[in-house]
């Protein structure tokens, strides 16, 4: 989801957009109320982290003024993968099979390059059964926001370990996990990802900024979001619990997203780094602790490996490479979405067939 859908340019120019907060607080830049971005009623457990994330997606989409008809939602199978039914109700959604969302999304997005895509998966869906398709989608840098709602457990099948479960994690039925976790962010990095971030379902502000940046990134934006499963993995010792997240989240920077339609002057603060996204939006990173340069891949590995070993919940954007081409850019295909080609472009001429026949 690299750029603003064509028809969602500010209704009254940049100036008007700037005045928005004062003028009409309930309408976004394409004139819609936030409720329009809702989906069906959630059937998840009360308090499930996944529901918070849905709310953040709704906010981010509304804020960016996404045209829902130009958005597609993909998911696999799991509690997390159900959520696309609960946001952006006016967008087409595709709830696929377990662990294989990437391939479905890849096909759809190559067939129609103008679509903007949000994919939602779970840690089981992505890191256990789905790690293969995940890696290859990352490698292809397909244009999509790839959200992993990571709770370290299989929610929908009632509490088994996923491959992101912490070593030592204890579950009621499954016992103690003895294996080191796969780390979604490290996996993404290893497969040459161009946007790698982690957040926490309980950190609304950061998450929204990240979602917006991800929606404006060209290529695959991987968002590993710690999202507590209140039913099966919310005891305090779990690094995927609310309690742990609220106590222990360490943002590596403060994040601000400034959409392309807002005129800004980037001030030269010492403690801020700006990353210009492909569509002209900006991601502003404000220093919190150590310096963090999100274009330094080795720093990303190091930061993430240390966090994994020490079971620390670091959040923020670990790595970004805004200019790398996405798969559709590499395929040498026409600009018109393939699904919109007229028959003349789909069927070669009669003469051409005669020519070929003559050569055989």
């Amino acid at each position: 989801m690299s750029s603003i859908p064509e028809n969602s340019t500010p209704v009254a120019g940049a100036g008007a957009a700037k005045a928005r907060p004062a003028a009409a607080p309930k309408l976004n830049i394409i004139g819609l109320e936030k409720t329009e971005y809702k989906g069906g009623n959630s059937t998840l457990c009360n308090g499930c982290g996944h529901d918070s994330i849905s709310a953040r997606i709704i906010n981010a989409a509304w804020d960016l003024g996404l045209e829902q008809s130009q958005v597609v939602k993909f998911s696999g199978i799991g509690c997390s993968s159900k959520t696309p039914a609960y946001f952006l109700g006016q967008s087409h959604g595709f709830n696929g099979v377990h662990g294989r969302m990437p391939s479905v999304a890849t096909g759809a997005l190559m067939a129609n390059r103008s679509l903007h895509a949000v994919g939602v998966s779970g840690d089981g869906d992505t890191a256990s059964i789905g790690i293969g398709q995940f890696k290859h989608m990352v490698r292809r840098n397909v244009n999509m926001v790839y959200i992993v709602e990571n709770n370290g457990v299989y929610g929908l099948t009632k509490g088994q370990f996923s491959a992101t479960a912490d070593r030592g994690q204890v579950l009621k039925y499954a016992g103690t996990n003895e294996l080191m976790p796969l780390d979604i962010c490290i996996e993404a990095l290893a497969a040459n990802a161009t946007f790698v971030a982690r957040s926490f379902a309980g950190d609304a502000k950061q998450l929204e900024a990240l979602l917006k940046a991800a929606m404006r990134h060209r290529g695959l934006a991987v968002l590993d979001i710690i999202s507590p499963c209140v039913t099966f993995n919310n005891h305090e010792e779990s690094t995927k619990s609310y309690a742990f997240g609220k106590e222990n989240e360490i943002p590596i920077h403060e994040l601000n997203f400034i959409p392309s339609y807002e005129e800004i002057t980037i001030d030269e603060y010492d403690d801020e780094t700006e990353v210009r996204l492909h569509d002209g939006s900006w991601l502003v990173l404000k220093k919190l602790g150590e310096d963090y340069d999100p274009t330094d891949k080795m720093l990303a590995y190091k930061t993430l490996e240390n966090a994994r070993t020490q079971q620390k919940l670091l959040t923020g954007i670990f790595y970004i490479e805004p200019e790398k081409p996405s798969l559709v850019d590499l395929l040498n295909i026409v600009d018109t979405p393939l699904v919109q080609l007229p028959v003349e472009q789909l069927r070669p001429t009669r003469a051409s067939l005669h020519e070929i026949m003559a050569t055989l």
Binding site: N7, V72, Q90, A111, S352
Partner: protein, 606 residues
């Protein structure tokens, strides 16, 4: 150079056998014999002779025995025939059995460096001094092995009287006009030909002679290339695939012809996307995604790939997504033999995926049909909103066949029931994705990106209502399945109709499928000669329709002839027509080779 004369006693001049014999070339794979063999078949074809080839190659890259079998049949029978009259032995590893395999009265052309186990008295031997001829040709060292294969072509040209002009033309065609390899190979071929002329007294009976009446208006092509072309001419816009023998050449054909056929003249960009997936699960997922988004999407695979796609195809079936799956069958179970043919995936594809599923399958018999069915498959996929299978096989897909020229697809593409934003507006936004408005079991769909607030719906493999909302209600489930069954029944008369050839007075019916066609026709001719008339129906698709029922009803005995072990088509027919079950005889064989007319004849004429 040594003079090769006939070493076996030969009874004077025998009657000529013109255009009615088999040539078998035994080489080592990866040795370049492919080029030589293609010259042979192409020049014979261009001489107007009905020819078929069966390339029997091993599942490795280089160094193992390979046979290339060319049948000439003046009557135009294109099926495999077992007997070999002209054996060309270029491989020491198999020379003993190759020589032993020649029919009585046949001839053997062989590399004189090969060890010969036993001299048969009933065949003629022609030793060829391959090494010396290669030396004489003064070839670059690294090309000797490859170009050396032209020698047997030259010798065969002399002995069998293959026209040198056609060989030359075939060579030019083969190298796309590139002078250097053409001249190098031609030089070798000519050297061998001249040597043969000078040294071999041609007393053997087998001859090729230009003829007319069969090859006019025909082309020589393999089924996979035909299928690839068919896809390109019928609007394929997304291909997701994973390499697997014997299907890879279908994707290759698309990649080869796309720049010529599907390039936007202004930008030079293609009007289709081809993605090599990481495996077959991904290929299936990709084409379902693309089909869902509105593309004509397809994949090509073989048995193991089909098995891997089983879960995804259930989703395609149940969420009702158009996509086309080509299965170029090779023998299985399991990895089986990647380079051997069979019609072995009929049952597993028909019932593919768990739960109550049955799929529409098309069965091309010829390259022309492969071309056409590529179009039918897309039309059906989009009309029926479901995965469509096309079951070809290695024999059809990878061997060269004489085929009628392909006809340009004049009929408009059937893009199925798709509601545009305007349609939605006209309906006041009212529609149900899985609502059977028309009584044919097929709902309407919208494509993502449709600019209308009511356009969106949620696609899922779980239980749903006619309005695409989630449901666990028993009635919803049952009604949905019953509608899918209705849709399956709608398919019966949309799919390509069977080809029926009925003979008055026949009591026996033959039902068969796909690439067996030639063997069946030849067997029928043999049976006719033996006084047995047969009628013949070739199933071109599943599910079957009334025509198949009527045909089955009419005959005393129905032989269901197929190239697998378990009688898979028979199985399906028995189920579709249980009242006729008792008279349907499963006539099946599966050893990796295409069926022969002889075997079929034997089965029916017992």
């Amino acid at each position: 150079m040594s003079v090769a004369v006939q070493t076996s006693p030969q009874v004077a001049e025998r009657p000529r056998v013109v255009n009615d014999f088999n040539i078998n070339v035994a080489t080592v794979n990866g040795s370049g014999s492919q080029t030589s063999n293609s010259l042979l078949i192409r020049s014979l074809f261009k001489m107007g002779i009905p020819v078929t080839s069966k390339n029997l190659f091993p599942s490795n890259i280089q160094g193992l025995p390979t046979w290339y079998n060319i049948r000439l049949s003046s009557e135009g029978f294109l099926a495999r025939r077992e007997a070999v009259e002209v054996m060309i032995c270029m491989n020491g590893a198999t020379v003993a059995e190759d020589m032993a395999s020649v029919a009585e009265g046949g001839i053997i052309i062989y590399d004189d460096a090969l060890p010969i186990a036993a001299h048969r008295k009933d065949v003629n031997y022609y030793a060829v001094p391959v090494k010396e001829l290669v030396k004489a040709a003064n070839l670059p060292y690294n090309l000797q092995k490859y170009v050396g294969n032209m020698i047997y072509v030259g010798v065969a040209a002399h002995l069998l009287e293959i026209e040198m002009d056609e060989l030359r033309a075939a060579l030019v065609w083969n190298f796309g006009g590139k002078t250097k390899p053409i001249e190098m190979n031609w030089n070798m071929l000519l050297t061998a030909f001249n040597w043969a002329q000078a040294n071999i007294v041609n007393e053997q009976p087998y001859r090729c002679a230009r003829m007319t009446g069969f090859n006019e208006g025909k082309v020589l092509i393999d089924g996979n290339t035909a299928a690839g072309l068919g896809a390109l001419y019928n609007g394929v816009s997304f291909v997701g695939w994973y390499p697997i023998t014997p299907s890879s050449s279908l994707a290759d054909a698309i990649n080869t012809y796309a720049p010529q056929l599907r390039k936007d003249p202004e930008t030079g960009h293609l009007t289709l996307a081809v993605v090599q997936a990481e495996d077959e699960l991904a290929a299936a997922g990709m084409i379902l995604g693309a089909g869902w988004a509105g593309a004509r999407s397809m994949t090509a695979t073989s048995g193991p790939g089909i098995s891997l796609m089983a879960e995804f195809i259930g989703l395609g079936y149940f969420a009702e997504i158009p996509a086309v799956f080509w299965d170029i069958q090779r023998i299985g179970p399991s990895t089986g033999l990647p380079t051997r043919t069979g019609q072995v995936d009929i049952l597993s594809t028909y019932y593919l995926s768990h739960g109550d599923t049955r799929h529409v399958i098309l069965f091309p018999a010829t390259p022309k049909e492969a071309f056409e069915m590529a179009g039918n498959a897309f039309d059906l996929a989009e009309r029926l909103q479901t995965p469509i299978f096309v079951l070809s096989d290695l024999d059809l897909g990878m061997n060269l066949w004489i085929s009628e020229e392909f006809e340009y697809p004049d009929a408009p593409m059937d893009r199925g029931k798709v509601l545009s934003a305007e349609d939605l507006k006209a309906r006041g936004g009212k529609w149900g994705r899985y609502l059977d408005e028309d009584g044919d079991g097929i709902g309407y769909r919208t494509l993502p990106g449709t600019r209308h607030p009511m356009a969106a719906y949620f696609t899922r493999g779980t239980g749903h209502t006619p309005y695409a909302t989630y449901s666990e209600r028993p009635e919803d489930w049952e009604n949905n399945l019953l509608r899918l069954r209705r849709k399956f029944d709608t398919a019966r008369d949309l799919v390509p109709a069977p080809v029926v050839n009925e003979v008055a007075g026949a009591r026996i019916g033959i039902i068969s499928v796909g690439s067996n066609d030639g063997a069946i026709e030849e067997a029928r001719s043999r049976l006719r000669n033996a006084g047995i008339e047969t009628s013949y129906l070739r199933v071109r698709a599943l599910p079957i329709n009334q025509t198949v029922r009527a045909f089955t009803e009419k005959y005393d005995t129905i032989y269901v002839v197929e190239n697998n072990l378990d009688g898979q088509l028979h199985n399906i027919l028995v189920n579709e027509m249980p009242v006729h079950a008792a008279k349907m005889i499963s006539t099946s064989k599966c050893d990796g080779m295409p069926l022969s007319a002889r075997w079929i004849t034997e089965q029916i004429n017992q």
